[in-house]
Amino acid sequence: MNKILWIILIVLGLVAPFIVYPVFMMKLLCFALFASAFNLLLGYTGLLSFGHAAFFGGASYITGQLVKISGLTPELGILGGTLFAALLGYIVGSLAIRRQGIYFAMVTLALAQIVYFIALKAPFTGGEDGLQGIPRGKLLGMIDLGHVYTVGGSPVALNLYYFVFALFCFGFWIIYRTINSPFGQVLKAIRENEPRAVSLGYKVERFKLMAFVISAALSGMAGSMKSLVFQLASLTDVSWHTSGEVVLMTLLGGVGTVLGPLAGAFTVVTLQSELSSVGSWITVIIGVTFVICVLLFRRGLVGELGRVLKRSL
């Protein structure tokens, strides 16, 4: 059953650029990976970070810088962005895990704000203009990611799409493996009952920090991918609204479910693009979704579905 589901999802992913607007699909993949990485922390470790935009956006600036200014190939740019996010995750994580619960959330939020201000003020980020015109470059120096094929009269960057899709699958696979490893089991134990995990002899802080770094690194990878797709790294990606958005995606899809973040990202990104004409009402709609989720719907879409089907998804 599970296998069939995965195959369907992969096939859908492969044919998607021929059916829906590919830029939309790529945006979706970036946010789905971002939300999944975030879920590793919230859903499987029980830590609510309100500053994950720092990794997402920070990495997109680094990738932009590496590809545009240093002229590196895109895969190296993404690697650089991901490593940067991991390092940043290590720093933020080390500070934040000294506090718990609500304090943890606020500390991550405030630390992310420092990253925001750096992005606003530092000379290499382009301030309010953002880092513009990031080239898509040649993968491994050979395959032109910017190449556009004409599919039914519309231009489609197929090379880029499959590159992004492959990266998404890779990132998602890492998350899946982490959750189902012994390491993941310890994380869940910490989530359920931290004092008990401590008494069992686990160095809880080390586990939390590891989870934080993995989550940050993959969030960074998602951000790096986004900067290639939109050829732009901007303040929006490091702002606390983005941090809030990823919380919503995860919450809406289902905290602590494997497929939840995908469903959440799909819903939110679709809402945003379908409703882009209503302007800032979109903020209101997202807010209302938040409130409804928290009040009535704490398991999220996939979580509720799982309850109906009596199985974990």
């Binding site: 059916i19 309010e128 953002g130 939109f230 732009l232 929006t236 679709t270």
Partner: protein, 407 residues
């Protein structure tokens, strides 16, 4: 799930349609309609001087042109870029890929303008920028498909500095909006201030859309400069001027000079506060009969007089449509060739010409805010002190670093 399914069906249908049309587009109007996109600040700090009013200008031009070109309908769509380069570029990308927009205008905010112009250039779509000011648009960022229509930071800095420095404003301190536009305006003005024998003592940068200028103003004050140059626009300029009065800065002999001011800013500051201020503009509604006629019609729709951005959007659209008609096609290369060969002469532009770098040069004006006693009506705000000929106002083509300029 149902929704996604309907999306898929819809997309397949659209694909089928577009592919059947694609074959028939060589000459005439591609895809059967000329689409003009107005992408600008519709809700933020610049929305009063551009915003919906820019779209009104474009729609008026389309209506005056007859609503059709080469027998095909003309359609106008608008969107808010919220002064964010990422939103602007995502919207423009979607417009070009999906909506087949042929020309994008408005583009207030230099950061957004640069992002969209680069993207549109890569995808061979025309941008006619009426709102943004940075000279980068016609220098290192120029493209074969970009036109900078109304004004730029070179003209603003030059005309204003030439008015202020010789009359005693020798030492300057800048309050600069911290993004592409502010930087460009500060740099260009600095160039002319020093060239004319003045000095620049320093500058402080503030974020776009700042509400409290007090600490910046105090820094400017303690610099001891005679002139505090405001390298910002719209709501930022208004707030800075108001708060300078609150802290009594103008009473101590320092003078504020706005480098980019629109009629709507003066309107909201009031003549009592603003009287006597001099600044540079590319258009004033009360210049002659033609401008007054246009302004009257515009006012009937928008309930405000047109700013240079809004009037410029009318003129740009009108000339774009004329060029399509003359070229017999909406093919971007043919239309650009036409636009660069014709004279631009209407109520908006006097002695107008689009150069190789995309700069539309035309006469500029040094304006002065009237005293309350001189004003005869709600919108009777300014007088033209000096007309600066096109050739003297804008950066000479020989100085342009645009790669399209043959040297």
């Amino acid at each position: 799930m149902k929704k996604m399914f309907s999306n898929v069906v819809l997309s397949v249908a659209v694909l089928a349609m577009t592919s059947s049309l694609a074959g028939a587009a060589a000459k005439g109007v591609s895809d059967g309609v000329v689409k003009i996109g107005v992408l600008t600040d519709m809700s933020g700090v610049y929305s009063t001087l551009g915003g919906k009013g820019t779209q009104v200008g474009v729609e008026m031009a389309v209506k005056d042109f007859g609503g059709k070109v080469l027998g095909k309908p003309i359609q106008v769509i608008g969107a808010d870029h919220q002064n964010k380069a990422d939103i602007a570029s995502a919207k423009a990308r979607e417009w070009i890929d999906n909506e087949k927009v042929d020309m994008i205008t408005g583009l207030l905010n230099s950061g957004c303008a640069l992002a969209v112009q680069k993207l549109a250039g890569d995808k061979k779509r025309i941008t006619m920028n009426t709102g943004a000011a940075s000279t980068d648009l016609t220098n290192k960022a120029c493209t074969p498909y970009s036109i900078h229509y109304v004004y730029d930071t070179y003209a603003l800095g030059k005309v204003t500095a030439e008015a202020v420095v010789p009359s005693g404003g020798k030492s300057w301190y800048f309050l600069t909006a911290d993004y592409a536009f502010g930087h460009s305006l500060e740099a260009n003005t600095t160039k002319f201030v020093t060239k004319l024998g003045g000095t620049v003592l320093g500058s402080v940068r503030h974020p776009l859309s700042t509400s409290d200028f007090s600490s910046y103003l105090l820094q400017a004050q303690s610099s001891g400069a005679q002139i505090i140059g405001l390298a910002n626009a719209g709501g930022d300029t208004i707030n800075a001027i108001k708060q300078a009065r609150e802290f009594g800065i103008d009473k101590k002999g320092q003078k504020l000079v706005g480098l980019l001011i629109f009629d709507t800013d003066i309107k909201s500051l009031g003549l009592k506060v603003a009287q006597g201020m001099q600044f540079t503009s590319g258009f004033y509604w009360d210049r002659d009969k033609a401008t007054r006629d246009f302004a009257k019609r515009y006012y009937a729709i928008h309930k405000a007089m047109p700013t240079m951005d809004q009037a410029g959007a009318y003129s740009a659209t009108m000339n774009y449509l004329k060029a399509i008609k003359a070229a017999g096609t909406d093919d971007p290369d043919a239309v650009m060739a036409k636009l660069k060969s014709i004279d631009i002469s209407d109520f908006f532009a006097v002695n107008g010409k689009i150069r190789a770098d995309g700069r539309m040069v035309h006469d500029m004006y040094l304006m002065e805010v009237k005293k309350p006693s001189e004003s005869r009506g709600e919108w009777d705000l300014l007088k033209i002190v000096k007309t600066v000929p096109a050739a003297d106002a804008f950066m000479p083509l020989s100085e342009s670093t645009c790669s399209l300029v043959k040297k």
